[in-house]
Amino acid sequence: MAQAETSFATPPAYDTARIRASIEAVAIPLGALVASAIIFSVFLTLLGKSPLQFFELVWRGGFGSSFSLQNTLQRATPLILTGLAFAIPARIGLVMIGAEGALVIGGFAAAALAIPLVSAEAPVYLTMLLMVLIAMAAGGAWNAIAGWLKHSRGVNETISTLLLTYIAIAIMNFFVEGALRDPASQNKPSTMPIGKDYMVGNIPGTDVHWGLVFGLVLAVALQVLMSRTTFGFAARVTGGNPRAALAQGLPVGTLIVVCSAIAGACAGLAGYFEVAAIHGQANASLVAGYGFTGILVAFLARHNPLMIVPVAIMFGAIEASGGLIQRRMDMPDATALVLQGIIFVVLLASDSLYGRFAIFQPKISTERT
């Protein structure tokens, strides 16, 4: 947020300030990563493991071959969308942690709609389009409930989105194990498979599904929306100071509901791709935690839609190489958790370094929102 504020709040030396801020925005996280690597190496040495082997494995598992790279990108895809789902409301000052629920509802709605359409052998592209639309609409509407409750009733959006997530999962489970269960789905209750023809394929020449392209397009589009349009400007003003926004006559309620809906639509789209590109049906595996990982992605990207892409790819690489590390270095999954916690903390703590280095600074210091 601070980064966007900088460019916005410093009209005098606009270009220089912008460049300096951009350099700062790259240099500080990189420095934090180096620091993390050092702490991490100490940790590994204490555990009697070789840091060198570790880093080699991370490289190989995350990027070192075309398989690894595609593995990374595929795993990054849902995180781009759920990262956006946290970042957009955050820009207007809302802490909405319910992307998981919107993802589940969106994916479930798409799978449910597919049942009659696929049975009726509806045209493939029309079905896909309708599934995308319903997933985004369902996810958007679900999350918009929280935005609307926030504005009209003052219900705190953090708790309502968390509650709605549990409720969304209950709804899906109820139908998936009940009325909409495919009788053939024996040991894993699921809705009827949508069938290969109706599934989303991979980007030609790769093993990565089309969700990645949608994620990239959406990240760019939302970046433009949030930083180049009146809507984005109004949202940022509201996020900075809701009272001032109201005083200026901005439609705060509409802005809140729309931002919540956009967020839910992003998560719903992630749910669509989980159903249409991965599982081919809706089941309890939609609850995979992407919505919650998205929160960290968004924070590390400082709620900047474009930055979410590289951060999500970084997360994808971590996940992609995590298994290799488990296998080769014989470390339990929990090791990764500990070290991951440490590194996130270091990265987040590095936020305090912004504005501390003279070389990155124009005359006006950055402002915290």
Binding site: A2, G93, V95, L149, S152, R153, G154, V155, N156, T158, I159, S160, L162, L163, L164, Y166, I167, I169, A170, I171, N173, F174, E177, I295, L296, F299, L300, P332, D333, A334, T335, A336, L337, V338, L339, Q340, G341, I342, F344, V345, L348, A349, D351, S352, Y354, G355, R368
Partner: protein, 305 residues
């Protein structure tokens, strides 16, 4: 539904309220204290899980569950100090650090907790306060763990102390307005670190209840998100320690509804019954919060701004 079935359900909900609510009470009280000072620690799930593991391990090694409870509290202090200190750096977002700390705390608990999944550790004895009752289910429901009573006492003390003591005033002042606190010569950073550490202590004890009383076992699936939910309940309880108790009891009672209904043969739609605590909480929030509810929030809280 027969009268007998209704009695069974009501007794189960009473028992559930008492049995299930304790970890929520402790975590919510800890978070209330932290948030009153103007910080959010979303990572108390990590304290809860680490506390559960530490309590179980210490109880297993020393044979004393109460030593385990104490150790769990101190593991929470450790995490709280970490959170509190890091968030004292300028521009560091407390919510994000909380999420990172959650992963750290859970990771440490899982990493060191592997050897304790299988053995049985001495557990906290409950007080049989239901001896007078003739109904065995009611007797069981009134088997009350001392920690439940301690939790209620802490809530009352905290409620009183926040309103009536100098420490309480300092915490509230820091949470409501940092400039005002500074003007009074209070060091807000110090207050917040201490409040987060104390909150961490309580959350750690909540974890000890999970592993040493109910369900009374250590494994990696133990918490299933109670810590996260308890943090959310603080908002529901509007930062009032006494309301935290109510919220936790309500949540516990609603949580007992699903299994209780199935036990009397009402089992269709158990996913919704099991989601009852969440649905109920949401409805109550919608019904009870007017547009002025945010006023109860400490002014410095990033969530309230």
């Amino acid at each position: 539904m027969t009268a007998e079935a209704l009695t069974t359900i009501l007794i189960a909900m009473l028992g559930g309220a008492i049995r299930v609510s304790t970890p929520f009470i402790f975590v919510a009280l800890g978070e209330t204290l932290t948030e009153k000072s103007g910080r959010i620690n979303l990572g108390l799930e990590g304290n809860l899980v680490l506390g559960a593991m530490v309590a179980y391990a210490i109880s297993f090694h020393t044979g004393s569950p109460w030593l385990g409870v104490l150790a769990a509290g101190f593991s929470g202090v450790f995490l709280g100090l970490m959170h509190g200190s890091i968030c004292s750096l300028k521009k560091v977002n407390d919510i994000a650090v909380g999420i990172a700390m959650m992963s750290f705390g859970i990771g440490v608990a899982f990493f060191f907790g592997k050897p304790y999944i299988q053995p049985s550790a001495p557990r906290l004895e409950s007080l049989p306060l239901g001896g007078w009752a003739s109904n065995p289910a009611l007797q069981q429901a009134l088997e009350i763990n001392p920690l439940f009573i301690v939790g209620i006492l802490i809530a009352i003390v905290m409620w009183w102390a926040l309103a009536n003591t100098r420490v309480g005033l300092v915490v509230r002042m820091t949470g409501d307005s940092e400039p005002a606190a500074r003007a009074m010569g209070i060091n807000p950073i110090k207050v917040r670190i201490l409040a987060t550490a104390a909150g961490g202590f309580l959350a750690g004890i909540g974890g000890a209840f999970l592993s040493l009383s109910y369900p009374g076992s250590w494994n990696e699936g133990l918490s299933s998100g109670q810590g996260l939910m308890a943090v959310a309940l603080v908002i529901f309880a509007r930062w009032n320690p006494l309301r935290c108790i109510l919220a936790a009891l309500l949540f516990g009672a609603a949580g007992a509804l699903g299994p209780a209904l199935q036990s009397v043969g009402i089992s269709q739609g158990y996913y919704f019954f099991n989601a009852a605590p969440y649905i109920l909480t949401l409805f109550i929030m919608v019904a009870a919060t007017g547009s002025n509810s945010a006023r109860a929030a400490p002014g410095e809280l990033s969530i309230a701004k």
